[in-house]
């Protein structure tokens, strides 16, 4: 069974003359338990695909299947229990007036869990935050700690699929590595399926098995990470992307 199956997905903003096509007939398939990366430059529609899956993009057409079932409009609570998302900027994704405890307990109670106290300690432990962080407010946390809280919130309903929207791009390099290792560990531990967006090929290579390259709203090529490392590409844009990535790594 596949985790995420997308066929002919179109996402657009605005209507008539103002219509902007953000994603054009995208196809992708992530096996259950797999880890898939979407790469491309800014504005190529990577994040929009995630938002369309989560129901945050207003207008879309095509087929989105999650765990073998087509998504509902609007998404049901069962859907949100199976699929969760981690946002790009941990400085914007936590409510400034809610403590870590409030964020997690609200999430847990919305999903109908009863043993909230125990689960909060467990979640904080899972993401590598001690119990001393439980009653802090976001302004008392660093960027990496905030992102850990955001990951804990996404893990709270025990999802099968986690969508990661450039989860490390707002963090500095040393913290990036910590968060990436955490994500790798969590995937092994909870048997999660990842769909990850990034513009950083090194990050995607670290986490994912397969990648899709996007350009101007279209998926131009899908290849495995091994092929990517071996530079076995067919599309010139992928080649260009890989070369520029190598150059910036060397420089």
């Amino acid at each position: 069974m596949s985790g995420i199956e997308i066929e002919g997905l179109n996402v657009w903003f605005g209507e008539y003359e103002e219509r902007v096509d953000a994603v054009k007939s995208a196809n992708l398939s992530v096996p259950k338990g797999g880890s898939f990366g979407l790469v491309g430059e800014s504005g190529s529609g990577k994040s929009t695909i995630l938002r369309a899956i989560m129901g945050l993009a207003p207008t879309w057409s095509g087929k989105i299947d999650i765990l073998g079932r087509a998504v509902e409009k609007p998404r049901s609570r069962d859907f949100y229990r199976a699929v969760q998302m981690v946002f790009q900027d941990p400085y914007a994704s936590l409510h400034p007036r809610h403590s870590v405890d409030q964020v997690l307990s609200e999430t847990l109670s919305l999903h109908g869990f009863s043993d909230i106290d125990k689960r909060i300690s467990q979640l904080l432990d899972d993401v590598g935050l001690g119990p001393s962080f439980r009653f802090r407010y976001p302004h008392q946390l660093s960027g990496g700690q905030r992102q850990r809280v955001a990951i804990a919130r996404a893990l709270a309903p025990e999802p099968k699929i986690l969508l990661l929207d450039e989860p490390t791009s707002a963090l500095d390099v040393s913290v990036q590595a910590e968060i990436l290792n955490l994500l790798t560990d969590l995937r092994a531990e909870h048997k999660l399926t990842y769909l990850m967006v990034s513009h950083d090929l090194a990050v995607v290579g670290h986490i994912c098995q397969d990648i899709a390259v996007m350009q101007l709203g279209e998926i131009v090529e899908t290849l495995s990470v091994e092929d990517m490392r071996a530079m076995k590409t067919t599309h010139h844009y992928t080649k260009h992307l890989l070369e520029s990535s190598l150059q910036s790594a060397a420089g």
């Binding site: 989560m54 945050l56 049901s76 609570r77 949100y80 229990r81 969760q84 998302m85 946002f87 790009q88 900027d89 914007a92 994704s93 936590l94 409510h95 400034p96 007036r97 809610h98 403590s99 405890d101 609200e106 999430t107 919305l110 999903h111 001393s132 962080f133 009653f135 802090r136 407010y137 976001p138 302004h139 008392q140 955001a150 919130r153 709270a156 309903p157």
Partner: protein
């Protein structure tokens, strides 16, 4: 001093900790930090002091007032304040003089503070809550609901405030309750505007998306996630508007449409003193000074609260 310092330092450390240990602890710590930054603002503390003084005076008016605010003594009408009195001081004690019916102005001011507080409290309870409801619902839902609610707001905003209040009072009848109602009805639209503007900036933020992804409905998002962020800017705006509200109430009183004689409402007192303002300045000046002081106090406090409560600073 040294004895009481030790437990205080312990409590201070408990309140200033970066690692609170319970929900209540976290809330107490963040309140204490807000209090500390308000305490650092001397002008705001002056405003707060004046307002606490006003509340104490209103509560103790019957004890503090040297005489009954309604008792008339026409033989002693328009007595000047004590420091201007020609006759021997100490014979007759009108500290701030007497008005045209020989009533003690000081006592009337003290009792009048109750009316002022009553008006201020009722308006502060009604107008911002209506504004918050209208503004956040309009801002969050958007579409037709937004258009209808905001056009109603525009209609209310298009009238000059005092004129609209006058029209309400004229239809409802003169009196202090109707004056409060009229002022509230004219005071809510700016709050609705502020709340809507705040909601529009919050609505598309990632933390609202994140809670939507947990399956939260619009009611929960508006009341639990948007209100806490709107309330601080409303509180600031309310304190800054308080001066205007007191002046509007005084204006209605002055025009004879608010508090009715012999009620010692400050605006009505100025209105009575107007006839004698050239020869007997104190009759209108004393309540005028009282209104000025309280308005200033609210403004100072509002200014300080803005520095403390601004959510843009708090999120940094």
């Amino acid at each position: 001093m040294s004895l009481s310092d030790t437990p205080k330092a312990g409590l201070r450390a408990w309140l200033l900790t970066d690692t609170p240990t319970s929900r209540r602890h976290a809330r107490a710590a963040s309140l204490y930090q807000a209090w500390l930054s308000l305490k650092g603002n001397h002008m705001a503390m002056l405003g707060l002091g004046i307002l606490i003084f006003l509340v104490v005076i209103a509560a103790l008016a019957s004890v503090l007032a040297p005489s009954d605010p309604f008792i008339q003594d026409l033989s002693l009408r328009l007595t000047p304040p004590i420091w201007q009195a020609d006759r021997d001081p100490g014979i007759e004690g009108y500290i701030l003089g007497s008005d045209s019916l020989g009533r003690d102005i000081l006592s009337r001011l003290l009792y009048g503070s109750r009316i002022t507080l009553y008006i201020v409290t009722l308006v502060a309870l009604m107008a911002p809550i209506v504004g918050l409801l209208v503004g956040t619902i309009a801002g969050y839902t958007g579409g037709w609901i937004d258009i209808i609610l905001m056009r109603i707001t525009d209609i209310f905003l298009a009238f000059p405030r005092l004129i609209l209040a006058l029209a309400f009072v004229a239809t409802l009848g003169a009196g202090i309750e109707n004056a409060v109602l009229a002022i509230s009805l004219t005071a809510w639209p700016p709050y609705a505007r502020i709340a809507r503007a705040e909601t529009l900036t919050i609505r598309n933020s990632d933390y609202i998306h994140a809670v939507r992804l947990q399956g939260a409905g619009p009611m929960r998002i508006i009341t639990k996630h948007i209100w806490p962020l709107c309330i601080s800017s409303l509180v600031v705006r309310v304190t800054l508007d308080m001066a205007g509200i007191i002046l509007a109430a005084a204006g209605l009183g002055f025009l004879g449409l608010g508090a009715q004689p012999p009620s010692p409402e400050w605006g009505a007192m100025i209105s009575e003193g107007r006839k004698f303002i050239l020869d007997h300045w104190w009759v209108a000046t004393m309540p005028g000074l009282a209104i000025f002081t309280v308005s200033l106090a609210f403004n100072l406090l509002g200014d300080g609260l803005r520095d403390v409560l601004d959510p843009k600073d708090g999120s940094q």
